[in-house]
């Protein structure tokens, strides 16, 4: 049987679900499967009538809420591709993305209507043919040429979804913009084929089904949302949609996880660490069966605390750049012995992919313990970066083993362990040279987090004409515990060679975060450069 497309999987899941069953739940509303389907079909019909179909890009510029999921699903049902626009980004960045992928339509909600003009004026490309506006007043509708009110679509749900086009596996499904290391956002293009392959793997591997309640913690422009939304709907499950505010309130989440009866949680590690600090252990989430994390390294001392706090929950580390959806995964064992303080492995390749290691000379590494770069090939891979063949060619290359076809060079340094798992050594671009030594920033961060008082640590390389790079570090301490820079440097000196000990260590109240909840390395670097210039 051929691999079902993303849309086929989602539609099948919805067909099987009881129309009165809640599909989306938030603090403000409940949307049943029947309501979700009607709402999304209304959007899809309006898009189709405006000629927006397979291959077209549709921006969704909405706060994180159930109606935004309706919009995303509506775009998929129209056979088009959704482009989630970070609702919390400055409008200039929104415009840069709208321009980069030439949106055929834009769906926006009330809080963004005042900025609509700013984004659409001077777009320097054809304006979107259709604007669907949620919560707009008549003045705003009149002002937006091509504007159409969301509310009117909801009342005129006449057309059947059978009239809508069925996208082919090679058609675009979503474009996720990630911040490139060079500063300009780059659009990672996934198709109905690649999204479908990933969702099918996820659903099968974790045996998700109608009794599951998924959390939706990540913002929609972050790739974790692909599993949160589409694997959940393909399973006929219920999704607890967390607003961007709720997603930040660790003490609240620690309390509510049990109350909401979440069974599948997926997020970056940092919020889980904050939830542990907020006493997650004293509100045991009885229903939780599966806890997945990705996006950052989970410091092992904290992971051990999580393991102990939730002894019956299956913990998995999912790994892989947005370009691969996910390419490897690791099941955290029932116990993490105290003597293991290094990072946990990233595990084995996803069953629907081929993963392998290539050394710096371009040869495949089959021996244990020898370092190289992780490659992946198979259904999960992106089609490329939007309108950027050069970058695409750098990431998707001919299979270096001489086989026909393309593979993705992830840029992650790994080695193979006797257990058959990959160990993650760092990002190729997090490797820096200082005083002639090659240093992996993650190793410095792991050493700092091994200190009992340290909650989180980020090492920052600063260019230095004499040393090549100077390394400094920022740490956040656990509530009620203290440690100063001198103590932390002394602690590092017991674990790291002298050239790896951060020259300066700052203790701060909290890490700055990117919109996806990861530590914001760029901001930290900027602050350090400002201070040390």
């Amino acid at each position: 049987m051929p691999q079902p497309t993303l849309l086929e999987l989602v539609v099948r899941g919805m067909d099987d679900a009881d129309p009165t069953k809640p599909a989306l739940v938030s603090s403000d509303c409940v949307v049943t499967y029947g309501e979700l389907r009607r709402g999304a079909t209304g959007i899809a019909s309006a898009l189709a009538e405006a000629g927006v179909g397979p291959g077209c890009r549709v921006g969704v510029w909405m706060d994180k809420a159930p109606v935004a999921v309706e919009a995303l699903l509506g775009v998929l049902l129209a056979g088009a591709a959704y482009v989630p626009l970070d609702p919390r980004s400055p409008w200039q960045r929104t415009r840069a993305i709208a321009r980069d992928c030439a949106l055929a339509a834009l769906i926006a909600d009330a809080p963004h209507l005042t900025l609509l003009r700013a984004v659409l004026d001077r777009l320097e490309c054809a304006a979107p043919r259709l604007l669907i506006l949620d919560g707009a007043d008549s003045g705003q509708l009149a002002e937006a040429a091509g504007g159409c009110a969301w509310e009117s679509l909801q009342s005129a749900r006449t057309r059947s979804s059978r009239a809508l086009p069925r996208p082919a596996p090679s058609d675009l499904a979503y474009i996720l913009y990630t911040s490139g290391s060079t500063g300009t956002p780059k659009g990672v293009v996934h198709t109905h084929g690649s999204g479908g392959a990933f969702v099918d793997w996820f659903r099968t591997r974790f045996a998700t089904g109608p009794r599951d309640v998924f959390s939706s913690h990540a913002p929609f422009h972050f790739d974790l949302s692909v599993a949160d939304l589409w694997a959940a709907l393909a399973s006929g499950a219920t999704i607890r949609v967390l607003s961007s505010l709720e997603a930040m309130l660790a003490p609240y989440l620690a309390r509510m996880l049990a109350k909401w009866e979440i069974t599948v949680w997926y997020s970056v590690p940092s919020i889980l660490v904050s939830m542990l600090e907020a006493d997650l252990a004293s509100h045991p989430p009885e229903a939780l069966r599966l806890l997945l994390f990705a996006g950052e390294v989970f410091p092992t001392p904290h992971l051990r605390r999580l393991r102990q706090a939730l002894p019956r929950v299956e913990l998995f580390n999912l790994f892989g750049p947005t370009e691969t959806n996910v390419c490897t995964y690791y099941r955290v064992p029932p116990e993490l012995p105290e003597r293991c303080s290094g990072p946990i492995p990233i595990g084995i390749g996803c069953e629907n992919l081929e993963t392998f290691i290539i050394d710096d000379e371009g040869h495949e590494v089959r021996e244990l313990g020898r370092e190289g770069t992780l490659w992946a090939r198979g259904g999960n891979l992106m089609r490329g970066y939007w309108a950027d063949p050069e970058r695409t060619a750098h990431m998707l290359r001919p299979d270096p083993r001489g086989r026909e076809g393309q593979a993705c060079c992830t840029g992650d340094r790994v080695l193979l362990l006797p257990s058959g798992d990959y160990e993650f050594l760092g990002r190729r671009d997090h490797m820096v040279k200082t005083r002639g030594y090659r240093v992996e920033l993650g190793e410095i961060e792991a050493a700092l987090v091994a200190h009992a008082a340290v909650l989180e640590a980020v090492a920052t390389p600063l260019p230095d004409p004499a040393l090549g790079t100077r390394i400094v570090a920022s740490v956040v301490l656990r509530a009620g515990l203290e440690a100063d820079a001198a103590a932390l440097r002394a602690h590092c000196a017991e674990r790291l060679p002298s050239y790896m000990i951060p020259e300066l260590i700052e203790v701060r109240p909290e890490m700055p975060r990117t919109s996806t909840g990861k530590a914001d390395r760029g901001t930290l670097r900027g602050e350090w450069e400002g201070r040390t210039a």
Partner: protein, 93 residues
């Protein structure tokens, strides 16, 4: 002071704090402007606000508050008043 006066005072204090300490702006932020969804306040800023309210009013918003309380300056002020007067010492008989 009437309850209305207290609310006004708290609102002004929070408005000044968020505008100057968190956003580092000169012009006052509207008291109904959404703080988080708009991207004005990030998780670092949210922590500053939580700590300020704890110090200034002895109200632990993360323990007894709801996400709706964090929406805007006016909802924060209303929550401070509610939780101050309904605190564990004086609450339900």
């Amino acid at each position: 002071m009437t309850e209305g006066d207290v609310l006004k005072n708290v609102t002004q204090d929070l408005q000044a704090f968020v505008t100057r300490q968190v956003l580092r702006e000169e012009r006052n932020l509207a008291i109904d402007a959404p703080l988080i969804e708009s991207g004005l306040v990030d998780s670092l800023g949210l922590l500053q606000i939580i700590v300020h309210i704890e110090k200034q009013y002895g109200v632990a918003l993360t323990e007894s508050g709801t996400p709706a309380d964090f929406r805007s300056i006016s909802s924060l002020a209303a929550a401070v008043l509610r939780l101050e007067t309904n605190g564990p010492a004086r609450s339900r008989n």
